[in-house]
Subunit: 238 residues, 2 copies
């Protein structure tokens, strides 16, 4: 029986040691697919290999990308890991709930996105993610590092995979991130062409809010095509 | 409501750094009571303090003992953490089951016992423990260190103590049905005016699908207003 294994995506990691430790955490709990976006010290990385203690040999080949959008183009659902809740209307999951969701979405490819050590993910990166995962650390002491966060998510995976509930079969093919991105890019340019944005200043926030409200519906490929049809009709391009 | 917080006991730890990291893991998840048996480098330990990043300040004072028996004299139940099952007639728990047991035994003092980095607990020490906890690592790759093991146990504690489902941060008033209906009615008439529907026959199904895909996002009042703005812009009614 196959259980839906999530992909881990490290965005702009700084220390090779942390990449190695994250790989170790994945291999400890049977995860295989690691992607890296713009690693500070390039790739391959000696410190990563040394600190992985052989973990990479138990995994698929690591893939490296320039942007989170490129790294997630073929994925259906992304969880952003964040140290605290941000003010965005996205569902916030515990690690347990996020993994439960992952196993429920069998047939879909799910990614967990981890930000750089010091700064975490930027808002423009979180916007690309459908859900947010926050680890419930103590309000008076929260010092989880990248590798510890990866360890806890990987652990939740094995914890649930060893004991998983019935899953809901996917009906329609869910849209991949690249199709969603294409859709938003088109919506944005139509809105610009129609003077939707009152000021340039407010535009980034408005775009973020619009993307967020549309992403919550987790549209299928067919639904994305329908929305393209709606845009074509409304703008007279039919 | 008080939740039964376990005590962590590090037996003959070698590296101060690992003591500090274990303390951090405890403080991250609200645990307060750390005991140390015969630390190799004595106590206090500078490397432990440095690596704790202030965790000790969120905890009770660390107590140091000569033997595990002395360190556990006032406790009611001990879990030995071990990398693999040993041949002893003791119940073996997952971390989750051990914490469930801990919370069930309210009014009792429960300890989790961690062995030295390289060798783990000796059989004479495991004998003092009523239960054994083993973390379900991959059979082909198991490299958890002391601090990671402590992190996973502490995490299981907070996970169980603080079990909560995913939630969307409350921001905005959710739209009421009448506002949604008004929005769909307007979308429908705009689509009709723009010849979106190829045939009258297919129209009811298409409308149903469109309504469904938009409703899944559970939009707020503000988001419904944003969509009205998008419609106005795209149809040149601005």
């Amino acid at each position: 029986m196959t259980v839906n294994k999530p992909v881990f995506i490290l965005v702009r990691p700084q220390m090779g040691e942390n990449i190695g430790a994250a790989a170790r955490a994945m291999a400890n709990f049977g995860l295989r697919e690691l992607r890296i976006v713009a690693p500070r010290d390039g790739w391959p990385n000696e410190a990563a290999t040394a600190n992985a203690s052989g973990a990479f040999e138990e995994m698929d080949e690591v893939k490296v990308y320039g942007t989170l959008a490129a790294a997630s183009a073929d994925l259906n659902y992304l969880f952003a890991t964040t140290a605290r809740e941000r003010v965005m209307a996205k569902p916030v999951f515990t690690p347990a709930a996020a993994i439960e969701e992952t196993l429920k979405k069998s047939g879909q490819k799910i990614g967990f996105v981890f930000g750089p050590e010091r700064t975490g993910l930027e808002n423009d990166e979180i916007v690309l993610c459908q859900g947010v995962v926050t680890i419930p650390t103590s309000p008076v002491f929260a010092s989880l590092n990248l590798a510890q966060t990866a360890l806890l998510i990987a652990y939740e995976y094995i914890r649930a995979a060893n004991n998983r509930p019935a899953h809901v079969p996917a009906q329609d093919t869910p849209a991949t991130q690249d199709k969603l991105d294409e859709m938003f890019t088109r919506l944005q340019s139509e809105l610009e062409a129609h003077q939707f944005f009152k000021t340039e200043e407010l535009k980034p926030t408005m775009l973020r809010n619009i993307r967020t409200m549309f992403m919550r519906g987790e549209w299928s490929e067919q639904e994305v095509r329908t929305f393209h049809g709606i845009l074509s009709a409304l703008t007279g391009k039919k």
